[in-house]
Protein backbone atom coordinates (compact mmCIF):
# COMPACT_ATOMS: atom_id res chain seq x y z
CA UNK A 1 0.00 0.00 0.00
CA UNK A 2 2.87 2.31 0.74
CA UNK A 3 3.93 1.75 -2.81
CA UNK A 4 0.59 2.95 -4.16
CA UNK A 5 0.86 6.13 -2.14
CA UNK A 6 4.30 6.83 -3.46
CA UNK A 7 2.98 6.51 -6.99
CA UNK A 8 0.04 8.71 -6.10
CA UNK A 9 2.29 11.42 -4.70
CA UNK A 10 4.33 11.53 -7.83
CA UNK A 11 1.36 11.58 -10.15
CA UNK A 12 -0.42 14.21 -8.09
CA UNK A 13 2.65 16.39 -8.25
CA UNK A 14 2.58 16.23 -12.03
CA UNK A 15 -1.17 16.80 -12.12
CA UNK A 16 -1.02 19.81 -9.82
CA UNK A 17 1.74 21.54 -11.68
CA UNK A 18 -0.52 22.53 -14.52
CA UNK A 19 -3.66 23.12 -12.54
CA UNK A 20 -2.00 25.56 -10.16
CA UNK A 21 -1.24 27.80 -13.11
CA UNK A 22 -4.91 27.87 -14.07
CA UNK A 23 -5.84 28.59 -10.47
CA UNK A 24 -3.37 31.46 -10.26
CA UNK A 25 -4.45 33.02 -13.54
CA UNK A 26 -8.09 32.78 -12.49
CA UNK A 27 -7.50 35.05 -9.49
CA UNK A 28 -5.48 37.73 -11.20
CA UNK A 29 -8.00 39.84 -13.05
CA UNK A 30 -7.56 42.01 -9.95
CA UNK A 31 -4.05 42.78 -8.71
CA UNK A 32 -2.90 40.47 -5.94
CA UNK A 33 0.33 39.95 -4.09
CA UNK A 34 1.79 36.55 -3.47
CA UNK A 35 0.60 35.74 -0.03
CA UNK A 36 -2.94 37.04 -0.62
CA UNK A 37 -3.09 34.58 -3.52
CA UNK A 38 -1.97 31.74 -1.28
CA UNK A 39 -4.78 32.61 1.10
CA UNK A 40 -7.41 33.06 -1.60
CA UNK A 41 -6.57 29.78 -3.32
CA UNK A 42 -6.40 28.03 0.04
CA UNK A 43 -9.88 29.23 0.94
CA UNK A 44 -11.09 27.69 -2.28
CA UNK A 45 -9.48 24.37 -1.42
CA UNK A 46 -6.45 24.77 -3.65
CA UNK A 47 -3.46 24.45 -1.37
CA UNK A 48 -0.37 25.95 -2.85
CA UNK A 49 2.88 26.28 -1.02
CA UNK A 50 4.31 29.78 -1.06
CA UNK A 51 7.64 28.29 -2.08
CA UNK A 52 5.96 27.05 -5.24
CA UNK A 53 3.71 30.00 -5.91
CA UNK A 54 6.26 32.80 -5.70
CA UNK A 55 8.63 31.35 -8.26
CA UNK A 56 5.63 30.50 -10.47
CA UNK A 57 4.46 34.11 -10.40
CA UNK A 58 7.86 35.34 -11.48
CA UNK A 59 7.96 32.78 -14.27
CA UNK A 60 4.54 33.74 -15.57
CA UNK A 61 5.60 37.36 -15.50
CA UNK A 62 8.73 36.56 -17.43
CA UNK A 63 6.62 34.75 -20.02
CA UNK A 64 4.49 37.85 -20.39
CA UNK A 65 1.26 36.43 -18.98
CA UNK A 66 1.42 38.63 -15.90
CA UNK A 67 2.38 42.20 -15.17
CA UNK A 68 3.68 43.35 -11.84
CA UNK A 69 3.96 46.49 -9.82
CA UNK A 70 5.65 47.19 -6.52
CA UNK A 71 3.48 48.85 -3.90
CA UNK A 72 5.76 50.69 -1.51
CA UNK A 73 3.07 52.71 0.29
CA UNK A 74 2.31 50.07 2.86
CA UNK A 75 4.33 48.99 5.85
CA UNK A 76 6.25 46.48 3.78
CA UNK A 77 6.82 46.65 0.05
CA UNK A 78 4.71 44.16 -1.89
CA UNK A 79 4.78 43.05 -5.45
CA UNK A 80 1.33 42.99 -7.02
CA UNK A 81 0.63 40.80 -10.02
CA UNK A 82 -2.10 41.27 -12.62
CA UNK A 83 -3.07 39.46 -15.83
CA UNK A 84 -1.57 41.07 -18.91
CA UNK A 85 -3.57 41.34 -22.10
CA UNK A 86 -1.97 38.17 -23.42
CA UNK A 87 -2.47 36.54 -20.05
CA UNK A 88 -6.17 37.27 -20.20
CA UNK A 89 -6.46 35.71 -23.66
CA UNK A 90 -4.43 32.69 -22.66
CA UNK A 91 -6.51 32.24 -19.53
CA UNK A 92 -9.80 32.29 -21.47
CA UNK A 93 -8.48 29.70 -23.93
CA UNK A 94 -7.09 27.62 -21.11
CA UNK A 95 -10.47 27.51 -19.36
CA UNK A 96 -12.11 26.15 -22.52
CA UNK A 97 -9.42 23.49 -22.82
CA UNK A 98 -9.69 22.61 -19.18
CA UNK A 99 -13.45 22.15 -19.36
CA UNK A 100 -13.12 19.89 -22.35
CA UNK A 101 -10.52 17.80 -20.51
CA UNK A 102 -12.82 17.51 -17.51
CA UNK A 103 -15.73 16.45 -19.72
CA UNK A 104 -13.68 13.88 -21.60
CA UNK A 105 -12.08 12.46 -18.50
CA UNK A 106 -15.39 12.26 -16.69
CA UNK A 107 -16.78 10.46 -19.67
CA UNK A 108 -13.91 8.01 -19.73
CA UNK A 109 -13.93 7.43 -15.97
CA UNK A 110 -17.68 7.00 -15.65
CA UNK A 111 -17.95 4.67 -18.61
CA UNK A 112 -15.03 2.59 -17.42
CA UNK A 113 -14.50 1.53 -21.00
CA UNK A 114 -17.76 -0.43 -21.23
CA UNK A 115 -19.03 1.75 -23.98
CA UNK A 116 -16.98 0.76 -27.01
CA UNK A 117 -17.84 3.04 -29.86
CA UNK A 118 -15.46 2.27 -32.67
CA UNK A 119 -11.86 3.34 -32.55
CA UNK A 120 -12.62 6.74 -30.99
Amino acid sequence: MKDAHEHLDKLMQELRRGTITIGVLSQLSEPQYGYSLVTMLGENGLHVEPGTLYPLLRRLEKQGLLESKWDTNEARPRKYYLLSKTGKEVYDLLVVEWKSIVTSLNHVIEDKGDDVDGDG
Binding site: Y33, G34, Y35, T39, P50, G51, Y54, P55, R59, P77
Partner: protein, 338 residues
Protein backbone atom coordinates in the same frame (compact mmCIF):
# COMPACT_ATOMS: atom_id res chain seq x y z
CA UNK B 1 15.69 40.14 17.69
CA UNK B 2 17.68 36.97 17.71
CA UNK B 3 14.84 35.37 15.84
CA UNK B 4 14.82 37.87 12.98
CA UNK B 5 18.48 37.01 12.57
CA UNK B 6 17.34 33.53 11.57
CA UNK B 7 15.11 34.99 8.85
CA UNK B 8 17.99 37.05 7.49
CA UNK B 9 20.18 33.99 7.44
CA UNK B 10 17.54 32.11 5.55
CA UNK B 11 17.13 34.85 2.96
CA UNK B 12 20.88 35.13 2.61
CA UNK B 13 21.19 31.39 2.06
CA UNK B 14 18.59 31.48 -0.72
CA UNK B 15 20.19 34.51 -2.38
CA UNK B 16 23.54 32.78 -2.50
CA UNK B 17 22.09 30.31 -4.99
CA UNK B 18 20.46 32.88 -7.23
CA UNK B 19 21.90 34.92 -10.07
CA UNK B 20 23.04 38.36 -9.00
CA UNK B 21 20.49 40.17 -11.14
CA UNK B 22 17.49 38.66 -9.34
CA UNK B 23 18.75 38.74 -5.78
CA UNK B 24 17.54 42.14 -4.62
CA UNK B 25 14.05 41.75 -5.97
CA UNK B 26 13.53 38.25 -4.65
CA UNK B 27 15.00 39.16 -1.27
CA UNK B 28 12.43 41.91 -0.75
CA UNK B 29 9.66 39.63 -1.90
CA UNK B 30 10.80 36.79 0.28
CA UNK B 31 11.11 38.96 3.36
CA UNK B 32 7.60 40.23 2.76
CA UNK B 33 6.32 36.71 2.37
CA UNK B 34 7.90 35.51 5.58
CA UNK B 35 6.45 38.44 7.48
CA UNK B 36 3.03 37.78 5.97
CA UNK B 37 3.22 34.13 6.95
CA UNK B 38 4.27 35.03 10.49
CA UNK B 39 1.47 37.51 10.87
CA UNK B 40 -1.00 35.01 9.55
CA UNK B 41 0.14 32.56 12.16
CA UNK B 42 0.23 34.63 15.29
CA UNK B 43 -1.15 38.09 14.78
CA UNK B 44 0.80 41.34 14.62
CA UNK B 45 4.33 41.37 15.93
CA UNK B 46 3.94 38.64 18.45
CA UNK B 47 5.80 35.83 16.85
CA UNK B 48 8.02 33.56 18.80
CA UNK B 49 11.13 31.83 17.71
CA UNK B 50 9.23 28.60 17.15
CA UNK B 51 6.80 30.44 14.82
CA UNK B 52 9.71 31.54 12.73
CA UNK B 53 11.13 28.07 12.66
CA UNK B 54 7.82 26.66 11.51
CA UNK B 55 7.50 29.20 8.74
CA UNK B 56 11.01 28.59 7.51
CA UNK B 57 10.46 24.84 7.63
CA UNK B 58 7.36 25.32 5.52
CA UNK B 59 9.35 27.22 2.93
CA UNK B 60 11.81 24.34 2.82
CA UNK B 61 15.53 24.09 2.31
CA UNK B 62 17.07 27.32 0.98
CA UNK B 63 18.69 25.41 -1.84
CA UNK B 64 15.43 23.86 -2.98
CA UNK B 65 13.61 27.17 -2.86
CA UNK B 66 16.38 28.77 -4.90
CA UNK B 67 16.10 25.92 -7.40
CA UNK B 68 12.41 26.65 -7.83
CA UNK B 69 13.19 30.29 -8.46
CA UNK B 70 15.81 29.47 -11.01
CA UNK B 71 13.69 26.76 -12.52
CA UNK B 72 16.76 25.37 -14.10
CA UNK B 73 18.16 21.97 -14.64
CA UNK B 74 19.67 19.84 -11.99
CA UNK B 75 21.65 17.78 -14.41
CA UNK B 76 25.10 17.72 -15.88
CA UNK B 77 23.94 17.08 -19.43
CA UNK B 78 20.32 17.77 -20.19
CA UNK B 79 17.91 15.86 -22.39
CA UNK B 80 18.57 18.27 -25.24
CA UNK B 81 22.20 17.28 -25.51
CA UNK B 82 22.02 13.78 -24.17
CA UNK B 83 21.52 11.95 -27.47
CA UNK B 84 24.43 13.70 -29.12
CA UNK B 85 26.49 13.15 -26.01
CA UNK B 86 25.86 9.41 -26.05
CA UNK B 87 26.66 9.18 -29.74
CA UNK B 88 29.93 11.10 -29.53
CA UNK B 89 30.90 9.24 -26.38
CA UNK B 90 30.44 5.88 -28.09
CA UNK B 91 32.53 6.95 -31.08
CA UNK B 92 35.33 8.32 -28.92
CA UNK B 93 35.42 5.29 -26.62
CA UNK B 94 35.45 2.97 -29.63
CA UNK B 95 38.31 4.85 -31.29
CA UNK B 96 40.37 4.90 -28.10
CA UNK B 97 39.62 1.24 -27.37
CA UNK B 98 40.50 0.12 -30.88
CA UNK B 99 43.70 2.16 -30.88
CA UNK B 100 44.82 0.51 -27.67
CA UNK B 101 44.00 -2.94 -29.04
CA UNK B 102 45.84 -2.26 -32.28
CA UNK B 103 48.82 -0.91 -30.38
CA UNK B 104 48.94 -4.13 -28.40
CA UNK B 105 48.70 -6.29 -31.52
CA UNK B 106 51.56 -4.41 -33.14
CA UNK B 107 53.81 -4.70 -30.13
CA UNK B 108 53.13 -8.42 -30.07
CA UNK B 109 53.99 -8.76 -33.76
CA UNK B 110 57.19 -6.78 -33.38
CA UNK B 111 58.33 -8.32 -30.16
CA UNK B 112 56.37 -11.49 -29.38
CA UNK B 113 58.66 -12.60 -26.58
CA UNK B 114 57.50 -9.87 -24.20
CA UNK B 115 53.82 -10.53 -24.80
CA UNK B 116 53.05 -10.43 -21.09
CA UNK B 117 54.60 -6.98 -20.75
CA UNK B 118 52.62 -5.76 -23.73
CA UNK B 119 49.49 -7.18 -22.24
CA UNK B 120 50.09 -5.35 -18.97
CA UNK B 121 50.80 -2.18 -20.97
CA UNK B 122 47.50 -2.59 -22.74
CA UNK B 123 45.57 -3.02 -19.51
CA UNK B 124 47.30 0.03 -18.03
CA UNK B 125 46.50 2.17 -21.08
CA UNK B 126 42.93 0.95 -21.08
CA UNK B 127 42.46 1.75 -17.42
CA UNK B 128 43.93 5.25 -17.81
CA UNK B 129 42.87 6.29 -21.30
CA UNK B 130 39.27 5.09 -21.36
CA UNK B 131 38.18 6.90 -18.18
CA UNK B 132 40.09 9.94 -19.41
CA UNK B 133 38.26 9.92 -22.74
CA UNK B 134 34.99 9.45 -20.89
CA UNK B 135 35.83 12.24 -18.49
CA UNK B 136 36.87 14.79 -21.07
CA UNK B 137 33.91 14.11 -23.32
CA UNK B 138 31.54 14.45 -20.41
CA UNK B 139 33.34 17.57 -19.25
CA UNK B 140 33.04 19.12 -22.69
CA UNK B 141 29.34 18.49 -22.88
CA UNK B 142 28.78 19.60 -19.30
CA UNK B 143 30.49 22.88 -20.13
CA UNK B 144 28.29 23.24 -23.18
CA UNK B 145 25.26 22.65 -20.99
CA UNK B 146 26.50 25.10 -18.38
CA UNK B 147 27.17 27.86 -20.86
CA UNK B 148 23.82 27.09 -22.36
CA UNK B 149 24.91 28.25 -25.78
CA UNK B 150 25.00 24.82 -27.35
CA UNK B 151 21.53 24.22 -28.69
CA UNK B 152 20.17 20.94 -29.86
CA UNK B 153 19.86 22.37 -33.35
CA UNK B 154 23.60 23.00 -33.54
CA UNK B 155 24.26 19.34 -33.07
CA UNK B 156 21.65 18.06 -35.45
CA UNK B 157 22.75 16.99 -38.83
CA UNK B 158 19.38 16.82 -40.48
CA UNK B 159 17.81 20.23 -40.39
CA UNK B 160 14.98 19.84 -42.80
CA UNK B 161 11.49 19.01 -41.74
CA UNK B 162 10.76 15.37 -41.18
CA UNK B 163 8.07 13.72 -43.25
CA UNK B 164 6.87 10.13 -42.94
CA UNK B 165 6.88 9.80 -46.71
CA UNK B 166 10.62 10.46 -46.67
CA UNK B 167 11.30 7.37 -44.61
CA UNK B 168 13.87 5.27 -46.47
CA UNK B 169 12.74 1.83 -47.61
CA UNK B 170 13.86 -1.12 -45.56
CA UNK B 171 16.96 -2.44 -47.34
CA UNK B 172 16.84 -5.93 -48.77
CA UNK B 173 18.67 -8.21 -46.36
CA UNK B 174 21.45 -9.07 -48.79
CA UNK B 175 22.25 -5.51 -49.69
CA UNK B 176 22.76 -4.19 -46.19
CA UNK B 177 26.25 -3.17 -45.31
CA UNK B 178 27.44 -5.61 -42.71
CA UNK B 179 28.67 -3.53 -39.81
CA UNK B 180 30.90 -6.27 -38.47
CA UNK B 181 32.73 -6.56 -41.78
CA UNK B 182 33.21 -2.84 -42.13
CA UNK B 183 34.46 -2.45 -38.56
CA UNK B 184 36.82 -5.40 -38.97
CA UNK B 185 38.23 -3.84 -42.14
CA UNK B 186 38.75 -0.52 -40.40
CA UNK B 187 40.63 -2.24 -37.60
CA UNK B 188 42.83 -4.04 -40.11
CA UNK B 189 43.58 -0.90 -42.08
CA UNK B 190 44.46 0.92 -38.86
CA UNK B 191 46.63 -1.99 -37.85
CA UNK B 192 48.55 -1.88 -41.12
CA UNK B 193 48.95 1.87 -41.03
CA UNK B 194 50.65 1.63 -37.67
CA UNK B 195 52.64 -1.42 -38.74
CA UNK B 196 53.90 0.25 -41.90
CA UNK B 197 54.76 3.48 -40.17
CA UNK B 198 56.78 1.57 -37.59
CA UNK B 199 58.89 -0.14 -40.18
CA UNK B 200 58.86 -1.98 -43.45
CA UNK B 201 61.05 -4.57 -41.83
CA UNK B 202 58.18 -6.90 -41.24
CA UNK B 203 56.72 -6.98 -44.71
CA UNK B 204 58.50 -9.81 -46.39
CA UNK B 205 59.51 -13.40 -46.04
CA UNK B 206 59.91 -14.31 -42.38
CA UNK B 207 62.86 -16.56 -41.82
CA UNK B 208 62.80 -19.10 -39.02
CA UNK B 209 65.90 -21.09 -38.12
CA UNK B 210 65.67 -22.06 -34.48
CA UNK B 211 63.22 -19.28 -33.89
CA UNK B 212 62.71 -16.01 -35.67
CA UNK B 213 65.82 -14.58 -37.23
CA UNK B 214 64.88 -11.86 -39.60
CA UNK B 215 62.84 -10.91 -42.60
CA UNK B 216 63.77 -10.68 -46.24
CA UNK B 217 61.82 -7.57 -47.24
CA UNK B 218 59.70 -7.43 -50.39
CA UNK B 219 60.16 -3.71 -50.78
CA UNK B 220 63.14 -1.58 -51.61
CA UNK B 221 64.37 -0.24 -48.29
CA UNK B 222 66.08 2.76 -49.87
CA UNK B 223 62.93 4.33 -51.21
CA UNK B 224 60.68 3.21 -48.42
CA UNK B 225 60.28 6.70 -46.97
CA UNK B 226 58.78 7.97 -50.22
CA UNK B 227 56.42 5.07 -50.62
CA UNK B 228 55.30 5.12 -47.02
CA UNK B 229 53.30 8.29 -47.67
CA UNK B 230 51.49 6.61 -50.54
CA UNK B 231 50.88 3.40 -48.62
CA UNK B 232 49.35 5.30 -45.72
CA UNK B 233 47.28 7.31 -48.18
CA UNK B 234 45.91 4.11 -49.73
CA UNK B 235 45.09 2.59 -46.36
CA UNK B 236 43.48 5.89 -45.34
CA UNK B 237 41.29 5.76 -48.42
CA UNK B 238 40.36 2.23 -47.40
CA UNK B 239 39.24 3.42 -43.97
CA UNK B 240 37.29 6.26 -45.55
CA UNK B 241 35.55 3.73 -47.80
CA UNK B 242 34.49 1.58 -44.89
CA UNK B 243 33.24 4.63 -43.01
CA UNK B 244 31.18 5.60 -46.05
CA UNK B 245 29.67 2.13 -46.12
CA UNK B 246 28.77 2.40 -42.45
CA UNK B 247 27.27 5.83 -42.97
CA UNK B 248 25.17 4.71 -45.93
CA UNK B 249 24.11 1.52 -44.18
CA UNK B 250 23.05 -0.10 -47.42
CA UNK B 251 24.33 -0.38 -50.93
CA UNK B 252 23.18 2.31 -53.30
CA UNK B 253 24.44 3.56 -56.67
CA UNK B 254 25.86 6.59 -54.97
CA UNK B 255 27.85 4.44 -52.58
CA UNK B 256 29.08 2.24 -55.43
CA UNK B 257 30.15 5.35 -57.29
CA UNK B 258 32.06 6.72 -54.30
CA UNK B 259 33.82 3.47 -53.51
CA UNK B 260 34.68 2.83 -57.14
CA UNK B 261 36.17 6.28 -57.53
CA UNK B 262 38.26 5.94 -54.39
CA UNK B 263 39.31 2.39 -55.26
CA UNK B 264 40.39 3.55 -58.70
CA UNK B 265 42.38 6.32 -57.06
CA UNK B 266 44.14 3.88 -54.76
CA UNK B 267 44.84 1.59 -57.69
CA UNK B 268 46.34 4.43 -59.69
CA UNK B 269 48.66 5.14 -56.79
CA UNK B 270 49.61 1.48 -56.50
CA UNK B 271 50.22 1.20 -60.26
CA UNK B 272 52.43 4.24 -60.12
CA UNK B 273 54.46 2.77 -57.26
CA UNK B 274 54.72 -0.77 -58.56
CA UNK B 275 55.74 0.13 -62.07
CA UNK B 276 58.50 2.36 -60.83
CA UNK B 277 61.51 0.11 -61.11
CA UNK B 278 62.87 0.71 -57.65
CA UNK B 279 59.76 -0.29 -55.72
CA UNK B 280 60.63 -3.90 -55.06
CA UNK B 281 63.67 -5.09 -53.18
CA UNK B 282 66.29 -5.42 -55.96
CA UNK B 283 68.32 -7.94 -54.02
CA UNK B 284 65.37 -10.07 -52.93
CA UNK B 285 66.57 -13.30 -54.59
CA UNK B 286 70.13 -13.06 -53.40
CA UNK B 287 68.92 -12.15 -49.90
CA UNK B 288 66.90 -15.34 -49.83
CA UNK B 289 69.94 -17.34 -50.79
CA UNK B 290 71.99 -15.56 -48.18
CA UNK B 291 69.71 -16.58 -45.32
CA UNK B 292 69.66 -20.17 -46.56
CA UNK B 293 66.02 -20.21 -47.53
CA UNK B 294 66.95 -21.10 -51.09
CA UNK B 295 69.98 -22.55 -52.76
CA UNK B 296 71.08 -20.85 -55.97
CA UNK B 297 70.42 -23.00 -59.04
CA UNK B 298 67.96 -25.34 -57.29
CA UNK B 299 64.49 -26.02 -58.66
CA UNK B 300 62.91 -24.06 -55.82
CA UNK B 301 65.10 -21.08 -56.65
CA UNK B 302 63.97 -21.13 -60.27
CA UNK B 303 60.29 -21.28 -59.29
CA UNK B 304 60.58 -18.39 -56.83
CA UNK B 305 62.61 -16.41 -59.32
CA UNK B 306 59.94 -16.98 -61.97
CA UNK B 307 57.22 -15.74 -59.62
CA UNK B 308 59.32 -12.80 -58.39
CA UNK B 309 60.04 -11.59 -61.91
CA UNK B 310 56.30 -11.50 -62.67
CA UNK B 311 55.19 -10.01 -59.36
CA UNK B 312 54.51 -6.59 -60.86
CA UNK B 313 52.35 -8.04 -63.60
CA UNK B 314 50.30 -10.21 -61.26
CA UNK B 315 49.90 -7.43 -58.71
CA UNK B 316 48.33 -5.31 -61.41
CA UNK B 317 46.10 -8.14 -62.65
CA UNK B 318 44.84 -8.94 -59.15
CA UNK B 319 44.21 -5.29 -58.39
CA UNK B 320 42.23 -4.74 -61.57
CA UNK B 321 40.22 -7.92 -61.00
CA UNK B 322 39.37 -6.98 -57.43
CA UNK B 323 38.48 -3.45 -58.47
CA UNK B 324 36.13 -4.71 -61.16
CA UNK B 325 34.67 -7.35 -58.85
CA UNK B 326 34.04 -4.81 -56.08
CA UNK B 327 32.31 -2.52 -58.52
CA UNK B 328 30.08 -5.26 -59.96
CA UNK B 329 29.26 -6.70 -56.55
CA UNK B 330 28.30 -3.29 -55.20
CA UNK B 331 26.27 -2.52 -58.29
CA UNK B 332 24.33 -5.79 -58.00
CA UNK B 333 23.61 -5.17 -54.32
CA UNK B 334 22.54 -1.61 -55.04
CA UNK B 335 20.19 -2.79 -57.79
CA UNK B 336 18.35 -5.04 -55.37
CA UNK B 337 17.51 -1.96 -53.34
CA UNK B 338 15.78 -0.22 -56.19
Amino acid sequence: MMSMEMVERYIFAVMQKLPQSQRKDIAIELRGLIEDMLEDRSGKNHYTESDIEEVLLELGRPKELADKYRNTKKYLIGPELFDSYLYILKVILAVVGISIGVGFAIQVVINPVNILDHFVDMIVSAVTALPMAFGWTTFGFAMGELMGNVKKEDLQWEKEEWKPTNLPPIPVEHSRVKRGEAVTSIIFYAFFIVLFSFSSDYLGVWVFHDGFNGVVPFLNEQNYGTYLVFIILILGIGILNECLKLAFGKWSYKLVLYTTVSNTLSMAIILFMVTATDFWNPTFMSDLVEVNVLTAGSEGYDTVNWIWSRVTFWTIVILILSLVWNGIDGFLKARKNK
